[in-house]
Amino acid sequence: MAVKTLNVDQVGRSVARLESRQKVSGRAEYVHNMKLPGMLYGKIFRSRIPHGKIRHIDTTAAQRVDGVFSVVTGDDVRTLVPIPYYGPAFHDQPVLALEKVRYVGEPVAVVLARDPHVADQAAQLIEAEYDELRAVYDEVEAATATIHVHEILKPAGTFPDLKYLEGRRDTNIALDFQLRRGDAGRAFAAADYVFEHTFHTQTVMHTPLEPLVSLAEPGDDSVTIFTASQSPSFVRMEIARMLGWSENQVRVRTAFLGGGFGAKLYIKLEALVAVLALMARRPVKIGLTMEEQFYHITKHATTTRIKSGVSKEGRIVARECEVYWNGGAYADIGPRVTQKSGFTAAGPYDIENVKLDSYAVYTNLPPAGALRGFGIPQLVWAYESHTDLIARQLELDPIEFRRKNILREGRPQAVGTPMRDAAIEACLEKIADRMEWGKPCYRGSAALRRGRGVAIGFKACIAPTTSVAIVNICADGSCGLYCSTVDMGQGSDTAMAQIVAEVLGMQAEQIRVVHPDTDVTPYDMATLGSRSTYHMGNAVKRAAEDAKAKLEALAREAGAEGSPIPDVFRARYGMQAGNVVGIGTFIPSYQSPDKKTGHSENVTPFWMIGGAGVEVEVDVETGRFRVTKLVNVADVGKPINPKAVTTQLSGAAIMQLGHTMFEKMIFEDGKLTNASLADYKIPGFLDLPEDLTSEFVEAEQHGGPFGAKGVGETATFGVSPAIANAIHDAVGVRIYSLPITPEAVYRAMNGLPQEDRR
């Protein structure tokens, strides 16, 4: 190197989070804590019916409350924004309800006041009258129902491959994705055995402990939005589009996020606060309560029909899947989930004949979006439960059956893309090893039966998406990184700093990471789908390399080769002055799946692989069970920060444990009955498995920065089916719907019908 620097490995070191001190002392910055002079608080009045035409909204009583600044309805919004609809995949969601309401909890009006309590009280005085319409809640029913949530489909221009849906009428199917490989019909006819099952997953919510919150500050011809968002660049573009403004009139800033998990993606409250602030000419903040959060974003409930043809030798020769995604009343990113996850619905198996159909369906429920796994946990639940059932019925060992069928390195996945750097086999073998699968397992007592199960899943990364980064070296040799990746707890600030430090020969702890501010930090598609380490990591690496090359050129120019950085600047500028700015842009190559066959030679820049091994103990009298052991294994490439990776794995697995064992949004006639942490339980200390381990296999992701790949979602994949498989092993009953409650196990053991799932 032409400039004198450190020589300590920064990548592969478990660097403590850069913001550690701020977080343990309560001083870390969250939008939750922000306030601005003159700021108004907004409180939302919501629909109490699932589907209906708005006849009249009476705001007079609310307006009269002392201290109320204004009350705003959808019609008021239209005076500022003629077409006030937003959304990442479809422009279907109004800023406030217009003409119709489509789910219980939909925002209908907002009260603004200096005192949030005044706004809250006044919002309760608003009355709305509706002509009620019949509603539809079930995703399978909705696919063919004559009740339509939307009259016409309105795909956004963002995704060219959704253009064909433009103008489709009188359907609740927002997107249908299909994949055809080989000849499934023929293969089924020739198969020795055919198995078919239907699986369900429930509606759950992300419940970040910092609920959704956004704050907008109006300017003369601009607006600044402070928001707990995972996608500041998208918010800027979408607000600008809606207002008919240019991007540089909208400034979007984030802070640390108090959790995200997909809840804070694309656009949530931002359009609402922006419009309100521009109308009020005052800063406006809306921070949801935990209860309200349940009405803004959920994880898709699903129904999956899955059918396999199997040969006498135990080879899966054909698989057919039909997946219905319950998207709720607004598409959010559901159509992407339907496609991008849909194509993996046949599982990590080498199957010649595959037929997949995946449907994004509108219903009269709160909108569903992405939640840690982008649809994959729902699919793995189905295909790994199904795979286990086949093995049992054929009296084959579940691991052995998987070994026989597993998708090996270099073999094409169902879309036609060959598997590369996908350690499926290694993960399966490591799970088997950690579970001591070769040895007989302890079967428990007559009253407390023990069993074990495994499951493995995989995921493609959302492509093609762009990341841009800037590395700025100051004249004293210190360094700043400007990137729009949002640190919501996954540790991206630290990992990105490690990459910069590695390239520049600095100490990671000394790199200053500038938080997303669209006036300052460059474009990034979003912090989602475990894409940041790979995409932004590459952009950051390139920016650092660019800075390094420029610094070296500067040193040569100034005749200061081999000098410490400050001396280089001094030699060039005569004093401590100047900057070196490196820029890096990254977009992976990609081929969109063919519309008819779903085929693509290059569908993802990398694959995520994760699996779980579980031991359970089931009380045969009551159905109560506990997970005595949970082993998580993942292919994470070469980890940038091993400790951060392990915590991501265990954190994801524990979250999925909640989605498996108790989390469920319960709807009665479209009304959510458990919108609070009192009634919707998330995992706490007492829910942890006694023995929990999270490990990664040795692997390297080619094309990833220093061999790394994304990891945030990977440990969610296997947990649910591994638990169902273990319960089956313990007490011989199969659970087909999540969550697996003690009552569900009890009912199954006693041959009783399962509860209605909604």
Partner: protein, 159 residues
């Protein structure tokens, strides 16, 4: 009707006018710019708003502001006020016992209180004592490690 209250906040005698419906989280944030205690679930179930009142951990979201009249209130911000970190804070950092950090002040305060009551808690005691604090990032395994490390640090300092 607003009411004037006087209390001790992180060792300093203070006073404030509070309305009957204001809770302690609002009082700390609005009047004293202390935002380490955060309202999340609003039902006293998650522990994000943990504050010590007269030495006892309370959920500040359910604790009416006027009730701290005459009390001694300690918030997360006081732990490193002297400059150095509290052993519990050090242990949380060294064991990567947090991710997003939103719930962390609550966990740190509860751990400090736990170690005062039980200087050498078992895993079981840790799990039970902290079961009223939720972490959606689920840094639970690391938190257990951190509590044990904090116990060791505290014991070493006491020697």
């Amino acid at each position: 009707m607003n009411r004037r209250i006087r209390f001790t906040l992180n060792g300093e005698r203070v006073e404030a006018d509070v309305a009957p419906h204001h809770n302690l989280v609002e009082l700390l944030a609005e009047r004293f710019d202390l935002v380490g205690a955060r309202e999340s679930c609003g039902q006293g179930l998650c522990g994000c708003c943990t504050v010590l009142v007269d030495g006892r951990a309370v959920s500040a979201c359910l604790y009416l502001a006027s009730f701290v009249d005459g009390a001694n209130v300690v918030t997360i911000e006081s732990l490193d006020a002297a400059g150095g970190l509290h052993p519990v804070q050090e242990a949380f950092i060294e064991n990567a016992a947090f991710q997003c950090g939103f719930c962390t002040p609550g966990f740190v305060l509860m751990t400090a209180q736990l170690l005062e009551e039980k200087p050498d808690p078992s895993d079981e005691e840790i799990r039970h004592y902290l079961s009223g604090n939720l972490c959606r990032c689920a840094a639970y395994p690391e938190i257990v490690d951190a509590v044990k490390a904090a116990a060791r640090k505290t014991a070493a300092k006491g020697r």
